[in-house]
Amino acid sequence: VPLTNGTSPGESDVAFAQRYLADFYDLKMETIPMTKMRVNRNFMENKIQEMQQFLGLKVTGQLDTATLDMMHRPRCGVPDVYD
């Protein structure tokens, strides 16, 4: 999981982010074998970048504060992207 700059997200943040990216950005974590953690990490980073780009955030691929704040804003349940 990508670490933020100097402040690492807590486990609950990471879980929340994974759920958010699965709901709205078609992140499919469960289909990637855990043994391929590095692949997992890049995949998640790509999805974070996609979300940051879509919602007008700075594209860092990191779970930084602005990204986590955006994820916690009330929103529509329709996905932002489709597979």
Partner: protein, 370 residues
């Protein structure tokens, strides 16, 4: 903007909707009004027409639900996901669901039902989420002042890519006749102004455009010319020397030139020099000779010097004193060929500003060959 996956659209222009239930957070009539206004936002800029039915299966079924509610997308309690909707299609297609765990309101408190409804109905009509933070179709919720809420240009481009623009009014079956509604004997107008060689008569969401040469006026939705202007305006006047028309509603005013809305508007009417006690303008007239604008509010009027761009000292004054015979509350006013025309309800007063007297009392719709 994006459209929903597979670009689903309604293959018809008359679409029904039905409220399956209501939130206890708001009065049912307030819910109905919010949903009706939300549909109107989209019907203003497309050929689509929406009709509420109370029984049977509607194209768009609307409900409030808690948690899991039978569509594989359970709601998640307060905040988080506020609502969701399905793209056009049979059955659940087009349906809109609101999370009952939210606090639904008609104000800035809690979650504003109208704003979320406009967004979700965008999905019900086939729009996806937009990248544009100013678009109503941007995925996250933020409160917007309802009196100035408008669809963004991105929203309008998106929905018109699916359904096109509103249909131009067809000439009536008898081309030499006028639209019967304007000939209603009780007809009144929100505002009237000249625009070049034409006269614009504003009423609710529409306006009639009339030239002195043609008998039959054109009839258009305001939003088809100026998407972000409000409906039900209070006053309008043209400053010919600045080739601009100013539109007033409540404590704000807009400037338009042709069908372009000028940047930097709306502005507050108090920037013109009105005292805080003035909340709205009833009518306004620009006097070409004097380059002065008269603003009429209740029984008083102000005069604005268009050259100096400032309100003249010594105002307000009583309308009845300086405009003898004009003593009822005004709806609209405009100047033509040196005469002032004042509209009050279904009556119109032709006033000679030099002789300072009413020269004719007419019906408000006397400009139309009823």
């Amino acid at each position: 903007f994006r459209v929903m996956q597979g670009r689903p659209v309604w293959k018809k222009h008359f679409i029904t909707y039905r409220m399956k239930n209501y939130t206890p957070d708001m009065k049912p009539e307030d819910v109905d009004y919010a949903i009706q206004k939300a549909f109107q936002v989209w019907s203003d800029v497309t050929p689509l027409k929406f009709r509420k039915i109370n029984t049977g299966e509607a194209d768009i079924m609307i409900q409030f639900a808690h948690g899991a509610h039978g569509d594989y997308s359970p709601f998640d309690g307060r905040n988080g996901i506020l609502a969701h909707a399905f793209g056009p299609g049979p059955g659940i297609g087009g349906d809109t669901h609101f999370d009952e765990a939210e606090i639904w309101t008609k104000s800035y408190k809690g979650t504003n039902l109208f704003l979320v409804a406009v967004h979700e109905l965008g999905h019900s009509l086939g729009l996806g989420h937009s990248h544009d933070p100013k678009a109503i179709m941007f995925p996250t919720y933020s409160y917007i002042d309802l009196s100035t809420f408008r669809l963004s240009a991105d929203d309008i481009r998106g929905i018109q890519s699916l359904y096109g623009a509103p249909e131009k009014p067809r000439p009536s079956s008898k081309p030499d006749s006028t639209d019967p509604t304007v000939c209603d004997p009780n007809m009144s107008f929100d505002a009237v102004t000249t625009v070049g060689d034409k006269i614009f008569f504003f009423k609710d969401r529409y306006f009639w455009r009339k030239t002195f040469r043609t008998l039959v006026p054109e009839f258009h939705p305001i939003s088809s010319f100026w998407p972000s202007l409000p409906s039900g305006i209070d006053a309008a006047y043209e400053v010919t020397s600045r080739d601009s028309v100013f539109i007033f509603k409540g404590n704000k005013f807009w400037a338009i030139r042709g069908n372009e809305e000028q940047a930097g508007y709306p502005r507050g009417i108090h920037t013109l020099g009105f005292p805080p006690t003035v909340r709205k303008i009833d009518a306004a007239i620009f006097d070409k000779e004097k380059q002065k604008t008269y603003f009429f509010v209740e029984d008083k009027y102000w005069r604005f010097d268009e050259k100096r761009q400032s309100m003249e000292p010594g105002y307000p004054k009583q309308i009845a004193e300086d405009f003898p015979g004009i003593d009822s509350k005004l709806d609209a006013a405009f100047e033509s060929f040196g005469f002032f025309y004042f509209f009050s309800g279904s009556s119109q007063f032709e006033f000679d500003p030099n002789a300072k007297k009413v020269t004719h009392v007419l019906k408000s719709n006397s400009w139309f060959n009823c």
